[in-house]
Subunit: 328 residues, 2 copies
């Protein structure tokens, strides 16, 4: 299936395992732009991954995620952990000012050798975001970082899904009107292991905390007996207040999951979904690449109402299976 690595890329793999930032950066660029080489790269790196703790941080735009991530990174560093950050946020910067502030803050953090920060290019590229993010996480994991943070904007469905592939998922909300409702609508309540009410000095912070605690108790959000109930932590990321508590909550969740034997089984569950996604994407590529003409013809027949999209899809699949069979 996947091509074997060229000498050049083998050197890249060595550089990554040696933790060379330039090699890591180049590998992530490959993951972003060259699917085939990326697959080969992951083949080569995968065996060295799996040691990092993956932390997902998501939430609506403007909740202060980037600032929170920056202070979280500083706190992990103070605890002697190395940290890598992948920021997947097509809507960020939400405001030019905030960006500047965060960037300065981030740059100061990124100067540190035990820290790697990379934002994924998503502009105009609406596909494969999930694959690219998870592969980037594998690169950073195999480079030996203790913690890999995946930051996504919790608005689009894909973005929420990405964050929820982490070992622990933190949902960041701010007391702005509607954030609570919005979180529920966006399916954020379902993926949260820890809630972070940021900008907790603002009006409505306590109301939001209550809102969340009530929502967690809603029948639709009930879990089995023995399972973890999301904790709610108040932070003021800009001042760093509450960040230690946030990290403590994340660690409690990790400990609980390990205790309950759920840490590993969650990774199996996520990996299961991932294998399914890769298989799906591979089949999709084969379906379209192998059958351009048939697809053109089917599309025209569907637009002319001679066929329906569903019957056309069935025809496409049957043709593909016939060819695959011949290919054996």
């Amino acid at each position: 299936m996947s091509p074997s690595l060229s000498k050049k890329h083998q050197k890249l793999v060595d550089g990554i395992q040696a933790g060379k930032k330039r090699s890591i950066a180049r590998a992530i660029t490959i993951v972003e732009n060259d699917e085939e080489t990326a697959a080969a790269l992951i083949e080569a790196l995968y065996g060295f991954s799996g040691k990092a703790f993956v932390l997902g941080i998501t939430g609506p735009p403007g909740a202060g995620k980037s600032t929170l991530v920056a202070s979280t990174v500083r706190e992990f560093r103070a605890q002697g952990k190395t940290v890598a950050v992948i920021a997947v946020d097509p809507t960020s910067p939400y405001s030019g000012g905030a960006l500047l502030g965060d960037r300065v803050r981030m740059d100061r953090v990124a100067a540190d050798d035990g820290v790697f920060i990379r934002s994924m290019a998503t502009r105009g590229n609406l596909g494969g975001l999930s694959r690219k993010t998870v592969d980037a996480a594998i690169v950073l994991d195999s480079a030996g970082y203790d913690i890999v943070i995946i930051e996504t904007v919790g608005v689009g469905q894909s973005e929420v899904e990405i964050a929820s592939t982490a070992d622990t998922t933190v949902v960041v909300l701010s007391p702005e009107a509607g954030d609570g409702i919005q979180a529920m609508k966006a399916g954020l309540m379902e993926v949260a292991d820890v809630f972070c009410v940021n900008k907790s000095d603002r009006d409505g912070a306590d109301r939001l905390v209550r809102e969340i605690q009530n929502a967690v108790m809603l029948p639709s959000n009930q879990k089995e007996e023995s399972s973890w109930y999301p904790t709610v932590i108040k932070t003021q990321a800009r001042a760093g207040d509450g960040v230690q508590e946030l990290i403590a909550a994340v660690k409690s969740h990790e400990a609980f999951q390990r205790e309950a034997g759920r840490f590993e089984s969650e990774r199996v569950r996520n990996t299961r979904l991932r294998i399914g996604r890769i298989a799906r994407d591979t089949l999709t590529d084969r379906l379209s690449t192998g059958h351009q003409q048939l697809l053109d013809q089917l599309a025209e027949e569907v637009v002319a109402r001679k066929k329906t999209p569903y019957s056309a899809a069935t025809e496409l699949i049957e043709q593909y299976l016939r060819n695959a069979h011949k290919a054996d």
Copy 2:
């Protein structure tokens, strides 16, 4: 492939073609919740669809989309057109207050017999959004509405994709800081046929218009010679200002596309993508449903680093193809 319709559902089809709102509503609920019946329903309805003009309206949260949609609907009605609206917006309501305002506004509009408004339930449901939305549009199309409006929040990749399956796509921005940058990052520039700068009485409206006009001219956004260049319209949706101009711009785009023979070919292109998506989803279902045990085993081997996600996916596909072959 798809099951044939029960008597009950045949009556539903009749009700939809008779334009009965209750039948339409029930059909959309089926589209949302029961994939199999939905497929059969679309099989039955598809031949009667294709007459409606489909208008996509997208943009970041808080740009005033819902208010704009409401005034657009009123304007279309004033021109004697019947209009159906599908609102896909997991983040809406962005603020409780705005919602209330919009809902009142919407209710007044929805009382009109020539108008149907439905928001798609997305809470906690992160899959199949695109299929459900397009199928809902087919239901409304086959019910005989002249215009079908699909409103999505232009932040997540899926949401942007959904809106861009329309005949004409309007991207709504407001002069808030960063909206322009955000739009570019979210890939909104690429999908826009018409830009709507809403809340145009606010500071920065003219700057945003210039920002957009410059962005449209960026090399990366250049199109072939003969193709349409997005127009920029200023509106104040709450007061209804500029809405006639917006609709005029939409009509110019439609006319241009028809003139250039692109109206039909765009539908073919979108349908082509759609057939591919349906085929992909069908294969994904078969892959997972038929191979639970294999998937479990592969996932565990991958987590144990005995295999990589990519080699596991290849194995899954090969197994599926062998079974499909046997099944012949």
